[in-house]
Every structure is written in structure tokens, then in C-alpha cells.
Amino acid sequence: MSDTGTPHRQIPFSLVAQRVEASLRRRRRKEVGFRMLGMAAVLTALTLLAVLFGSILVKGLPAFWQATFVIDVHFDRELIPIGPKPVLEAGESPAAFQQRMVRWQTDLGFADFNQVLLDALAKVLPEAAEHPEDAIALIASGEAFALRDRVTADPGIVGTTQRLRLLADANVDVWLKGNIDRSLPDEAQQLSARTRAWADQLYAADVIQNRFSTAIFLNPDSRSSLASAGLAGAFMGSLFMMIIVIVLAMPIGVAAAVYLEEFAPKRWWTDVIEVNINNLAAVPSIIFGLFGAVVFIMWFDLPRSSAVVGGLVLTLMTLPTVIIATRAALKAVPPSIREAALGVGASKVQVVFHHVLPLARPGIFTAMIIGVAQALGETGPLLLIGMNAFVASVPTSPFDQSTALPVQIFLWQANELRNFFEGRGSAAIIVLLAMMITLNSVAIWLRRRYETRW
């Protein structure tokens, strides 16, 4: 503010002060507004996250508890007419033994386990015998096979009575939990009026209870018996793939990072490798799926839908992430350490393997965990190598057909019985997220525990 002979002299000082005052007020308001905007953005992001987790928990948690029969089942000898289980005899060829075993299992397959279940139901629900169709609809159809598997495992239980927990049919679960509109007319309901009435009656009599079910953890996927569909197959598939990712991506990724960070001369081709790795990290994951379909399945003839192919695709996909994160860990080791080692006569390789790598270990583990977490959640590329196939058994080797946890979620949400699988799918998401959170917590813990500030 000048106060000597300028043309502005006419404006009285008080007015100037007033204007400055007003402009300052406006600017301060703007300042507060801007700050609020920032806070609002953070809060919005956090709210979205909370809504996401909240909606999944609300939908998924109840699905871990399922309508379950607690009932006495009599394994009637008349209904299950089988001989002793065959054993491999001396001098018998494996093929011949397999043939005898198949014949025994065929005999067992003829046993009417539905009748066994009906008899058990008739004891708590006398009318059940008159309307077998309506009665058997109460119990998940897979439970008849579960009874057969029990006999296969231990033929000694034939003739005895066992108190068993059997899963109710998925539709019964939906009905009892109120996940379907109870006022819908008969033709829109999945269950007959009689079955629905029985379900309510048995629930009131405590024969059907809402119990924590292990089926979702222990069973493979199923299409015929929806209530017993589980994640075991997908879990094994994911496990095989994660092992492959760890075994391949860790050494290759660390070696590549070590080379680029410690050895590579600054030339045009190391620049190319560097840009290439950064680009690969940002290439859409689905592209890796296409690559896997062509190279591993069409050219190398590896089995479709298998965990080997999935593991290889995910390895290539996570490699750039692992390399970039490992390089950051190596960069964090101060040059003075290298110089000191070189100074006392160590070779370059010795410097890296004796000093730099051990010091960067926590960072490298973190890099690996980030990579595995990324691979664990990936879905798109796996669909392209055929892992969207329905697999009703738990894979026993990486060469078997299998699915993965995220793919299983994708398959379940496409199931026609939406009322049941909305919950089941969300429960599967909870399992997947729990695994991711565990992995990430380990990564954070490692970082906190071993992080060195130089």
C-alpha cells in the first residue's frame, strides 16, 4: 500500500482495508472449502470401502450356517446288499483288481440310499412314507451319495444306526432363511406346498437346525446337490497354482531384479528390458490369458483347465510386479555396504550374495507376497485357459482339471438358484478376502519387524 502522491490517493484507507478484508474472507472461505473437498474425497473413498465390505459380510456371513438335519439313520442290511470289500490278492494284475473293485462299487451303487433316508425321515415325520417325492426334496440330493461314501469307507456300519448331520436341500435353506418371498404363489415356489409345510414343522421340532456347516470348506463344487457345493476343489486348484507361482516367480524374479539392479551395464538394451518390464506390469491380465491359451495349450499341448497352465500364466503375470518390488528393496540397501565389501576385496557376485541379498530379504519377501496376492485374486486369464469348466472333484495333481477360488465365485454367481448362491458366493468372497488379508498382514508385519532405516 503506497501512500504518496499516486492517483489512488482518493480511495480512503478504510475502504481499501474493507476490500482487502472482504477478499481475505473470500479466500479463507475458499481455503476451508478446498480443504473440506479433500476431506470429503478421503471420506468417500473410505465409505465406499466400508460399504463394499459391509454388503459382502451381511450377505456372506449367514451363508456359513446352513439348514441341517440332525437325525438317526439306520443302515438297513436289506437295503444295502453288498459282499465284503475286495482287497488286492497276491499275483493279481492291477487291472483285474480294479475290475473287481468296480464290480463291488457297482453293487453298492444299486443300493437304494434314498430309501434309507426316507426311512430315517419317516421316524420323525410319519406322513413322509406316503409322499416320498415331497419328503426326499427336503434333503440335499448329495447326502445319498455321502451315505454311500460312508459305507465305502467303512462297510462295517451296515446294519447299525448312526446319528448323522445331513444338509437340507438348498431350497429348504432358502425357504427357512426367508431368502425367497414366502407370499409367492405355489407355481413360483421351488418346493411343493407340502414340503414347505414339513420344513417349517421340522424346523420348529428342532430336527432341522441352522448349524455352522463345513460343507463349504470340505466339499468340491456340485451342480446336482447345491446345498453341499463347496470350495475344496477350487482351494486345491488355487493352492497348486500359488505353489507354482512361488517356485517359479520367486527365483526368476529375484534373479532378474538382481541382474538389472546390480550387474546390468547402462546400455540401450537394458533400457529396453526396463521399459518392457514396466509395460508388462501394466498390460491387462486378460492378455496373459490369451498368451497362455495359444502358447501353453495350443503349442506345448499342456492339459486345458489344469493348474499347471494356470500357474504358468499367473507366474508370467506376476513376474513384473515381483521384479519391480524386489528392485525397490535392493535399491534401499545403501551403496556404502557394497563399497565397503568391494573395498575389502569381495567380488561383485560376493557383494550381492553375501551382503545385499541378505539385507534386502524382508523387502524381497514382501515383493513375493504382493505377487502371490495379486495372482490369488486373478480371474479373467484363468477363464481363457478353460478353468471355467465345472469340476466336481478335488484335483490331486497340478495336471488335473481344476478351478480357482475367484473363478468359483464367478461360476456360483451365474448359478440359476440366485437366492442360495448370492449368499454362498459372498461367503466364498469372505474366504478369499480372509486369505488376502492374511497374506497382506504378513507382508506388513515383515516390513515392520525387519525394516531397517539406514
Binding site: 479463507r28 475458499k30 481455503e31 480443504r35 479433500g38 470429503a40 474425497a41 478421503v42 473413498a45 473410505l46 465406499l48 470401502l49 460399504v51 463394499l52 454388503s55 459382502i56 450377505k59 487291472a95 483285474a96 480294479q98 527365483p251 532378474a256 541382474y259 550387474f263 528390458i273 521399459v275 518392457n276 518390464i277 514396466n278 509395460n279 501394466a282 498390460v283 491387462p284 491380465s285 486378460i286 492378455i287 496373459f288 490369451l290 498368451f291 491359451a293 495359444v294 502358447v295 508370467l316 513376474l319 513384473p320 485374486g377 486373478e378 480371474t379 479373467g380 481363457l384 478353460g386 475367484p406 465365485i409 464367478f410 454367481q413 448370492e422 459372498s426 468372497i429 478369499l432 488376502m436
Partner: protein, 459 residues
Amino acid sequence: MAMDNMTVVVGLLLLAAMAYQLGLVRSRRIAGGGEVLHSRPPYYGWLAVLRAAVPAVAIYIGWSIVDGPLLKSLVLSSLPADAVPVDELQATVLMQRISNLASGFGLIGEAQAFELQAAAYLRQLTLTGQLVVLAAMATAAAFGLFWTWRRTTAHTRARNQVERAIEVGLIACSAVAIFTTVGIVLSMLGESLRFFQFVSPVDFFFGTDWSPRFAAVGAADQGAFGLLPLLAGTLLIMGIAMLVAVPLGLMTAIYLAEYAPHRVRSVAKPVVEVLAGIPTIVYAVFALVTVGPFLTELGEFFGLTIRTTSALTAGVVMGMMIIPYISSLSDDIITQVPKAMRDGSLALGATKSETIVKVVLPAALPGIVGAILLGISKAIGETMIVVLAAGNAPVLTANPFESVSTITVSIINQLTGDQDFASPQSLVGFALGLTLFVLTLILNVIALVIVRRYREQYE
């Protein structure tokens, strides 16, 4: 292969251990003779392992690759003319029967005479093959050991040779990334060229109709493969996603970098980054089950028809997913702007927000643009959210409340059926993949170059 892999692995490990010991003993004996060794004894051990075990391993791996197809073709060519299988499937079944017979597992049912003969031949071939390979491995190993024993002197530069080998291994590992890129380009290009034999590139890149029919055998009509509706859907969803992600992500970054007290920042930053770690399938289900119905109801409230699966649903949820990508990269970049620039502005009387808008953001602009470009690349390539929530309706529309389809959705649709890989209906998936790869490659490279240049400017 009857020669058990496990046995071979154990054998090779034993060989390696033996070679190591041999190298060690040899070098110590030289040192005991009073000469000064060039390297420390373990390096001589490792050198011996490299010379003896590595060639043996290479021979074994080579054999494992060629052995199956080689034996199969030999056995099949030995069959009498009337028993030669007509197609691939028959050949596989027959080979399975023959190898079951040969391994003594036995068959269900009667084995035919020619099968028994072939099985005997197969057994003999397998045995010969194993003997030859074992002999080759043993020779290589023996030669390596002999070489080590005879030629190791005090002047052998064992450490340098071992370190050279390590470096070669490291280079090979770095090359995997290059091979991946080359593989991606070659495989996509090859399949795309096959696709363009059916459909002209002009029809593909400029066609406005996307309706690939299922291939009926011999049908002339294969449907239309126009890229534009898919590209429009992709861009529409990307646009919505960026409208959500850029303001939220940028303001989050600004608040956390410039305003938030240290304690708020140390909690809020990792929590926002959790959004980036959530698998996309989770967002997809969230969009389908929660966000879609919510938007439909919201639309009804305002008298709008919003479909449950629409460009809007997919875009909003995708934007939510991209927030952390933009916020954490922008955060890094904003904190890198030198403090002197801020102090200068504040000293002239600017408020904090004026400083941010007029000084910090312009300085950080290239980096922020890079972050946004990476976000766009992420949005274009995102698959699961659009597969579940965009509605899969390949129509040219700019209405965000309608269902659309995208490039990624169509790749999944065309390649996950039971279609023949050689039909244009499947091959178009690779042409779409190539388009997607090129699009994201351009975006990524521009973004990476900008960010890198920006970093160098202030480092």
C-alpha cells in the same frame, strides 16, 4: 517313463554332491602341496558341479521332452497296415492300451495280437532309450569329473568361471520378461492374421455391427465382426470410471499429502490402498448385487430408467477400483515437488489452497497426467467388472444407463465356449486382444516416459 523321475533326481543330486566333493578335495590337495590357490576351495567344488552335473541334467531334460512323441511315432509306424489308427483320438486310445500292456498294469478285456506285439516293442524301445540316455549322462558326468581332476591347477580361475555362470543365469532370468512380450506379440499376431483371412481388417476395425454367429458347419454366413460398438462401450465405461476416479483420487492425494496430520495420513493412506488389493471379481459381484440394484432404485426416484447392468454400474465400480492407483501415484508425485516452491508461494501471501492449485499442481502436472493415463489403461483392460455388470449388449450408444459390451467382455465370450479354435468366432478373440494390447501399450509407454522424465527433473 518307467525310469522313475524321483530316482533320476536323487541320482543327479548324488552326482552333484560327489562332483562338489571331488573339486573340493582336489583343490585342497593342490593347496596342501604348498601352492597358493587362485580361488577358495568351494569354488572348485562348484566348478566341478557345473562341469559334471549340468551337462547330465541337460541331456535328461532334452530326453524327457523328445521321448514321448518319439516312442509314439516309432510304435505306431511298427503297426500292421490294417491296425494303423485313422485319427488322433484313436491313436491316443491305442497308445494308452499299448502302454498299459507294456507296463504290466494289464487291460480290461482281451488284448489283440498286434497290441501285444506293439507292447513288447514299446518295452524294448523304452529300455533301449533309457540305457542310451543313462550311458550318455554317465559319459558326460565322467568326462566332467575327469576334466576337473586332471586339469585343475592352482592357476584355475574357479571363482571367475563360477561367477560367469551365475551371471549368465541372471541374464537368462531377465530375458524371461522379453520372451513374454515377444511371445505375447507373436501369438496374438499369428492368430489375428488367421482371423483376417476370414474377415477383412477394414470390416473389423470400422464395422459398426458386432454379432458373431455361432459357426454352423459349412455356413457361409459367419456374422458381423465390427469393432466400433465394443470400442465405444469400452470408452464409455472408461469415461465414467475416470469421472469417478480422477476427482476422488486426486483430492484424496492432495488432502493426504498437503493437509492431513501425520497420524491421519499413516492410517488413511494404507486403508485407501486396500482398494487396490481387492480382487476384481469381488468388485464385479459387488457391482452386480449391490450397486446395480441401488442405481436402478435411485433412477426410479428421479424418474430415470437405469438398467441394473449398465455402463453406469460398471463405470462407477471400476472408478472405485481405480481411485487408489491415481491417489497413490499422485501422492508420490506431489510429495516430490520441492518445498522451496511451496515456501515461495506462501511467502508471497498465497493461501495453502492457492499454493496447491497454482504452484504445486502445475509443477506436478506431468506426473499426474501419467497417473491418469495408467488409470485409463487399467480401465480399458479391466475384465471381470464389465463381464458381470456391463450387461453384454454390443450396441453403439452413448447412453450410460443402457447395457453395453466391451472389448474384454467379447474376448471372454468368444473364447470360453466349446468353439473350435480355428473358427473366425474364436479367432476374433485374438484380434480383439491384439487391439487391446496395442492400445494399452501406447498408453503405458507414454505414461511411463512422462512419469520417468518428471522424476528425473526433481531428483
